[in-house]
């Protein structure tokens, strides 16, 4: 599955991003498991809210991290396409 700059994604029911205060990590909670979101993935996923299109998320990250936009766009699209494929995210 692919995503484009106009895609608007959200976490599917049964999946969510949450900060684990005890271990100080970001996690994706899923049925019967939780997986750690590394700092880059967490920064991206915190902006996935079911209303912002990908283009806005990429703009936001490019500004916050002062990084080239196309580099950010590649990372964001790869991560979100993979999570969409695993049904962690949905359209």
């Amino acid at each position: 599955m692919s995503v484009s700059e106009t895609s608007v994604l959200k976490f599917t029911r049964g999946h969510r991003l949450q900060h684990d205060r005890v271990r100080d990590v970001w996690l994706i909670q899923a049925p019967e498991k939780a997986f750690i979101a590394d700092p880059v993935a967490a920064a991206i996923l915190r902006l996935v809210d079911g209303t912002c299109p990908l283009s806005a998320i990429i703009d936001d990250l490019a500004a916050s991290y002062q990084a080239p936009r196309d580099l950010i766009a590649t990372d964001v699209q790869a991560l979100l396409a993979s999570l969409l494929d695993q049904k962690v995210l949905g359209a």
């Binding site: 599917t12 029911r13 049964g14 969510r16 949450q18 684990d20 005890v22 271990r23 996690l27 909670q29 049925p31 019967e32 939780a34 494929d85 695993q86 049904k87």
Partner: protein, 360 residues
């Protein structure tokens, strides 16, 4: 004592009461009665302590957890603590009203058990007439409300031939996941072991069915497949290691590293009625008994896999060898491996001993 990272999962066995009588039930042979069950307030406090300790997911189980009328209140409280809430249920008490209450309380996910796809086979295992129809209706209600659903099948020699149909049913009902778990032989399952044990050929056919279904369904159905220990020569990392990830609380409040741990002799079982969960997890003799690798005998002690399988299963070692600290006999390096090899060949049909409360 070993420093222990906090637990990830809490299995809250709210009650041992259950309308079903499956002969492989994971509850202990000595079932706890209603009068011994924790009160609502005790569970609310336990959930607070679990969240503070670092638990991420709470699995409300039993028995049949829906036999507790305070279940929606417990789910609501767990959700408010940002715990991921999972209901493990037989489904026979699910109605539009009971499910709505749980959904509104914030329930994240349901694991619905089926004993078979064939009604006669299912009801022979569960011992409750009409159960299959109720379960199918429950699955449809869960889907209609949009709650993520996993179907659980325990498989054994009487139903394992129908694994392909189980996978199809999960797909047809719109479950996102299905668990095909070969029976574990503790407690009730151990009493009925030979009557449940699949042959090597049955095991092979079930594994092949899972491989085919994974190719056919792809990401539309996640399949968790649990292979049977007795046909293996390397043990599983039981519970992800003793006292490392998982904590189980019984209806009366006993805190255990796994469901079968009450079989371990000569140790006190700590309780949330008298101690804080964090203290029990970190400091109790029970949780430190087989934590880490210091307790291991040879050949585990010098084995390169000791931090992979964590020595396998202590309750299985106890059940088969009489010594909970022995090498898990599932391991080909155990000098008692022949015990599982022989048991794996001993399967035959017969009459089950069903899970029941002992006569008072």
């Amino acid at each position: 004592m070993n420093f222990a990272p906090p637990p990830m999962s809490l299995l809250a066995e709210l009650t041992h009461r259950c309308p079903l009588a499956c002969p492989y039930c994971s509850n202990p042979v000595d079932l706890e009665r209603r009068a011994a069950e924790l009160e609502t307030g005790d569970w609310l406090r336990v959930l607070d302590e679990a969240a503070a300790l670092g638990v991420l997911q709470v699995h409300f189980s039993g028995g049949e957890p829906m036999a507790r009328h305070d279940l929606p209140e417990l789910v609501r409280h767990a959700s408010s603590l940002n715990l991921y809430t999972n209901l493990i249920t037989s489904g026979v008490l699910i109605t539009e009203a009971t499910l709505t209450a749980l959904d509104e309380a914030g329930l994240d996910h349901v694991q619905l058990s089926f004993q078979d796809v064939d009604e006669t086979g299912a009801e022979r295992i569960g011992g409750l007439r009409g159960a299959q129809e109720k379960k199918l209706a429950a699955a449809r209600l869960i889907k209609a409300r949009g709650i993520p659903l996993t179907l659980n099948f325990v498989v054994h020699r009487e139903n394992v031939a129908r694994v392909p149909a189980m996978l199809d049913l999960a797909h047809d009902l719109g479950a996102g996941r299905v668990e095909i778990a070969h029976t574990q032989y503790y407690g009730w399952g151990l009493k009925n072991r030979d009557l449940l044990m699949p042959s090597a050929a049955q095991l092979e056919a079930s594994t092949e069915a899972v491989v085919k279904a994974r190719a056919r369904f792809g990401n539309s159905l996640a399949i968790d497949y649990v292979t049977p220990d007795y046909h293996a020569d390397q043990p599983k990392p039981c519970m992800g290691g003793w006292g490392q990830r998982f904590v189980n609380i019984t209806p009366s409040g006993k805190v255990l590293p796994c469901h079968a741990a009450e079989t371990i002799p000569n140790i006190t079982f700590p309780s949330v009625a008298t101690e804080a969960l964090g203290t029990i997890w970190q400091d109790s003799p029970l949780f430190n008994l087989f934590r880490g690798t210091d307790w291991m005998p040879e050949p585990c002690r010098n084995c390169s896999l000791k931090e992979v399988d964590w020595g396998g299963c202590r309750c299985q070692a106890l059940a088969l060898t009489g010594d909970a600290a022995a090498t898990d006999p599932v391991c080909a390096r155990s000098d008692q491996h022949v015990l599982v090899v022989e048991a794996a060949r001993a399967g035959h049909d017969g009459d089950f001993i069903y899970r029941r409360f002992a006569r008072a």
